[in-house]
Symmetry: C2
Subunit: 197 residues, 2 copies
């Protein structure tokens, strides 16, 4: 936690406020959390929060942008590679697991967004664009002949990312479990399956 001691009282910078807010949003729900509740949890006045964030909605926007930006960067990095679509897909799957583990609270918040406000709707739209680019990548892997016969690209994309997103349900950073080990398992399960060929 980004906490610094100032004149004997804990102080939070912008990053520290964001981190605590995302934790409270995940615990109690965004709608059910007021800026007053956040202020109480942080031991700050509401105006101290408003010094850093114009509104509760801005906190949400910054948090969702962090999750989406990290996923998009992982994708863009993988797509910039020279390899086949299959190799790029493998790289995105690995990158998405690493983002999920590294930015767990932010991705958890993103996965729970239901599109009730403008900020949430914008995040859902951006997430869907990411999903469409992943589907296009699975299709490209199919078209280059990398996929087994009969694979439905849309269904496979949903199932693969369903598997990755489900990691947020059980992964707890404090219990260790390296992102690389999980990413290796996801990639090998996704590409080669559980059973010996």
């Amino acid at each position: 936690m980004t906490v610094s001691e100032k004149r004997g009282r804990p102080g939070y910078d912008r990053e520290g406020i964001l981190q605590v807010a995302v934790g409270v949003f995940n615990e109690h729900g965004y709608d059910a959390t007021s800026v007053g509740v956040l202020a109480e949890r942080l031991g700050l006045s509401k105006s101290a929060i408003y010094h850093h964030f114009g509104s509760k909605s801005e906190l949400l926007e910054v948090a969702l942008d962090r999750a989406l930006g990290a996923l998009e960067s992982a994708r863009d990095k993988a797509l910039a590679g020279e390899g086949s679509a299959a190799e790029q897909l493998e790289a995105v799957l690995r990158g998405a697991v690493q983002v999920l583990v590294a930015e767990l609270p932010y991705v958890t918040l993103l996965l729970r967004v239901r599109g009730n406000t403008d900020v949430e709707r914008a995040a859902v739209t951006r997430r869907r664009a990411f999903d469409r680019s992943m589907r296009a990548l699975v299709e490209a892997a199919r078209d280059e002949g990398s996929l087994r016969d009969g694979v439905d690209a849309g269904l496979a994309e949903r199932l693969l990312f369903g598997m990755i997103n489900s990691i947020a349900e059980w992964y707890r950073p404090e219990q260790g479990g390296s992102a690389d080990v999980i990413a290796d398992h996801v990639v090998s399960l996704a590409t080669a399956g559980l059973f010996r060929g």
Copy 2:
């Protein structure tokens, strides 16, 4: 919906009340739903609901038992088969997808349970016993030599059921999409992976 017309008013039997209640629990959350809200949604008096279910908690218990009972039956049927552990695992994965699609609202409710009440805690305990039996089955498949080298049974079990559970996030019965087609994809993705060998 199990609705019958009685003297010009819609009537609900036990099954119909349960179905509507589960829909409202999934939409607004179990905690946030009162028997008064259910009565209003059903167009019934609270005492008409209490004629069929002793409490809101009993509605939840019956709903969760339906999801858990269906999953356990699918497992027990698969484990009663003569085949290898790998074949039994394949049958359970197929059966779990079919249960999820056939009992979607009930499984959705089960997946959201967080263990805040005795009924919820009992359901979480029963779900964990199911998960343990699945892990034991993955281990048995490993021990008979069916799995690729290096597969972690616990991690594989979590990822496979994460993939299956994620179907509840996007599957909409009204848009069609056969349970058998989805189950085939889950089984082939899980066992043989996405890529050509």
